[in-house]
Symmetry: C2
Subunit: 374 residues, 2 copies
C-alpha cells in the first residue's frame, strides 16, 4: 500500500508518501543520490529504534520525548550533532517522530547554514494529519505558543501506518480532533464521505487498539489521505499565511491555545484542547448566524462520541484571567485584530474579533451559550 | 540626494534608498500605513541616538555593540522586546546599525511568529556594501561562522550617508575591502569606471576624515551605489545560493574566515581578513592559469595602497593547524567539496578544491607563491 501526493508550497515541492512501513534509507532518497552533504537522523527515545532500523551506522541525535524538548536548547543539540556529523548546507536532516520531533528537526534544518535539506517521517496520527505537512516549524518562548519558528516545508514526508500500531490512546485522541477539524474544513465533502469515514472510526478509537481488521485499517488510511489532501490544498493556496486561507486551519485553535495556557502541563492533549475549541467556535458561529445549528450539532456530537470534553467552562479553566489574556494575545492577528474561525454552511470562515462583543465571548466561555441551546 | 534601486530576491522585493539623512519614521513606511501590527526599533549603544531621533516614543531594544551580541542570547532579547511591544506577525522590526545589528534584527524578524516585517537602516560602510543587502542573516555557533541563519531580505533598506561621518577608521577599513571585492566581481566594469572611483578614494581613506569636499562625497555615494547594484544583481540571480552565482560573493572569504578563526578576537577586522583572502585568491587563480597576472597585480596593488596587510603568512597565523582545519570546514561547499572563488579575466569564477593540490594551497598560505612572483 502506497499513496503518493505532491504539493507545491511556495517554491518548495513537498511529496507525501502514506505507506505501510517505515521507509528504508534508499527510499528516503529516491531520485537523489544518498546525500553527499551528509545525513543526520533526529528522533526521540520513543522512535530511536525506528531510526536505528533505517540504518544503524548513520549519526543519530536523540531528544528527550515530549513538549519539554521544544526549546532553543534542543535546537542547539540538533545543530551540534549536525556539525559533528559534518553536514554541509546540502546535507539532509531526517526527523523521525511525532510533532515535537518533526517541528524541532524542521526548525533546525531551516536555520542550519541558512537552510539544509529536510525529510520527515511522521509516526503519530497528530503528526500525519497536522504537524508534518505544510512547513510550519517552531517552538514556544516567553509563554507564547510557537513564538519562534519558520516556514520550511520538507521535500519528502513519509507517513508509515505501522508506526501507529504502538500509539497510546492519548496520542490517538490528540490526532483525532485535528482529523475532525480538517473534515469540517473540507469544502469538497458534499457527499459527506469523509465525515462518514470518520464516524465509522469510533469503534477502533473506543477500543484503543490498532485495527486488526483490514477494512478498518483501510478507513484510517483513507482518512489520513483525505486529510493530507485537504490541508495540502489549503496550504498551497496560502503557504506563508499572508492571506486568509491558511488561517482557516486554526479552527478551534484560538480557544484551544488559551485553554492550553491555563491547563496543568501534560494533563490536556493538544487534541483535547482543539476539540473543546471547535465546539466553542461552533457556538460563536451559531450566535453570529454563520454556522447552521444542525451543522454545529453534528460537529459537537461527533466530538462527544469520540469522548472529548466539550462542555464550557472547561474543568481546567479556573484561572479565567490568564485564559482571557491568552485569548487576546494569540498571534493569529490581522492588523492587530484577533481573528476567529467558525464553521460555515460548508467549510469555515474568518471572523474578526472586532465584530464580536465581549459579552458574547464571555457567555460562550462560561458555558452560558451551551445551556441556552440544549 | 536620493538614489533608489529595487531588487527582487526570490519572492521578496527589496528597495534600497541611498540618501543623505537617516529617514524619519514616515519615510520608513512610505506606501504602507504606519504598521498597525506594531513597531520595534533595534539598535546598539552606538546607534541608540539615531534610533531615538526616528521617534523617541517607539519601543527601542538596545544591544551591546559589536560581535559579542551575535548569539542566541541577543535574539531572545529582541524577541522578548517584540513580544512586550505587542508586535503581531504583521509588525515591523526596524534594525538601525552596522552588520551585527542588521544581521541580528533580520534573524529575529525571520523567526518571530514565523516571519514578521523588516526594514533596515544601515549605518556603516561594511553594512551598506555587504551585510544589509541580500537577505543573509545569522550568527556564529560552536565556533562556526554563521552556522545559524536564514535568508530573509528586508523590504526596505536605507543607507544614510550622514551616518558615515562619525565612522572610525577601523570601520572604513573593514568596509573598503568588501567594496574592492565587489568591484572585482563587476563584469560590467569594462571601462574601469568603478575601479577608478575606488582608486580615487585613497586620499579620503588615508586622511581618516569624512570628506568635506562635495566631489569626494559624490564619489563615495557613487561607489556604494554601484556596489549595491553589482551585489543586488548577483543575489537576484541566485537568492538562496542554491546555484553557483551567489557563491562568487565569497571571493577571498574562504581564506578570510580561516584567518578570522585564528586571529585574536577584535584584533583583525572582517575587511582586513577579506583583503588578505582576496590576495590569496588572486595567487591561487594565477597558479591555476585563471587569473591574468596583471589583473592580480592591480587588485593586490590597490589593496596594499589602502594599507591592508597582503603578505603571507599573515602575522596572526601562528596556529596553522587551526587555520587549515577552518579552511577545510568552511560551509561554502557543494556536494561535500570546498569551493574557492578566484578572479577571472573579468569578474570571478568558482574552483573546486578537488582540483587544487594540497601542496599549492600550503605554498600560497605560507607565502611561497608571493615570493616566487615578486
Amino acid at each position: 500500500m502506497r499513496k503518493v501526493d505532491t504539493f507545491r508550497f511556495g517554491t518548495t515541492v513537498s511529496q507525501v508518501c502514506i505507506q505501510s512501513e517505515v521507509p528504508a534509507l534508499d527510499e528516503l532518497f529516491t531520485g537523489d543520490q544518498v546525500s553527499p552533504g551528509g545525513v543526520l537522523l533526529v528522533c526521540d527515545t520513543n522512535t530511536a529504534s525506528l531510526a536505528r532500523n533505517i540504518r544503524g551506522d548513520l549519526p543519530i541525535c536523540t531528544l528527550p520525548p515530549g513538549e519539554t524538548s521544544k526549546g532553543w536548547a534542543s535546537i542547539e543539540v540538533i545543530l551540534q550533532a549536525a556539525k559533528a556529523a559534518g553536514l554541509g548546507r546540502d546535507g539532509f536532516f531526517i526527523g523521525i517522530g511525532g510533532g515535537v520531533v518533526t517541528d524541532m528537526t524542521a526548525f533546525a534544518a531551516s536555520v542550519y547554514m541558512r537552510g539544509a535539506r529536510l525529510c520527515l517521517v511522521s509516526t503519530t496520527l497528530l503528526g500525519m494529519v497536522d504537524a508534518a505537512l505544510g512547513g510550519k516549524t517552531g517552538f514556544d518562548l516567553f509563554d507564547m505558543k510557537n513564538l519562534v519558528g519558520t516556514f520550511y516545508p520538507a521535500s519528502r514526508i513519509f507517513m508509515p501506518i505501522e508506526a501507529l500500531k504502538t500509539l497510546p490512546r492519548s496520542e490517538w485522541k490528540s490526532g483525532m480532533a485535528e482529523l475532525i477539524k480538517t473534515a469540517v474544513l473540507d469544502i469538497d465533502d458534499q457527499d459527506g464521505e469523509f465525515w462518514s469515514l470518520l464516524s465509522a472510526l469510533q469503534r477502533v478509537f473506543i477500543e484503543e487498539q490498532f485495527p486488526q481488521n483490514l477494512g478498518e485499517l483501510d478507513r484510517i488510511v483513507a482518512c489520513i489521505s483525505r486529510s493530507v489532501r485537504v490541508k495540502g490544498r489549503i496550504v498551497e493556496a496560502d503557504p506563508h499565511e499572508t492571506g486568509e486561507v491558511r488561517m482557516l486551519l486554526n479552527l478551534g485553535h484560538t480557544f484551544a491555545h488559551a485553554l492550553e495556557s491555563v491547563a496543568v502541563l501534560g494533563r490536556l492533549s493538544h487534541g483535547e484542547a482543539v476539540a473543546w475549541g471547535i465546539v466553542r467556535a461552533c457556538e460563536l458561529g451559531c450566535a453570529l448566524g454563520i454556522t447552521p445549528e444542525d451543522r454545529a450539532a453534528a460537529i459537537s456530537g461527533l466530538l462527544r462520541a469520540f469522548g472529548y470534553e466539550t462542555a464550557a467552562p472547561h474543568p481546567m479553566m479556573q484561572d479565567r484571567e490568564t485564559f482571557m489574556r491568552a485569548l487576546g494575545g494569540d498571534k493569529k492577528k490581522k492588523g492587530g485584530t484577533l481573528m476567529f474561525v467558525v464553521p460555515g454552511p460548508k467549510g469555515a470562515q474568518l471572523v474578526s474579533a472586532a465584530l464580536i462583543g465581549q459579552t458574547l465571548l464571555t457567555r460562550i466561555i462560561d458555558g452560558g451559550y451551551t445551556h441556552e441551546h440544549q
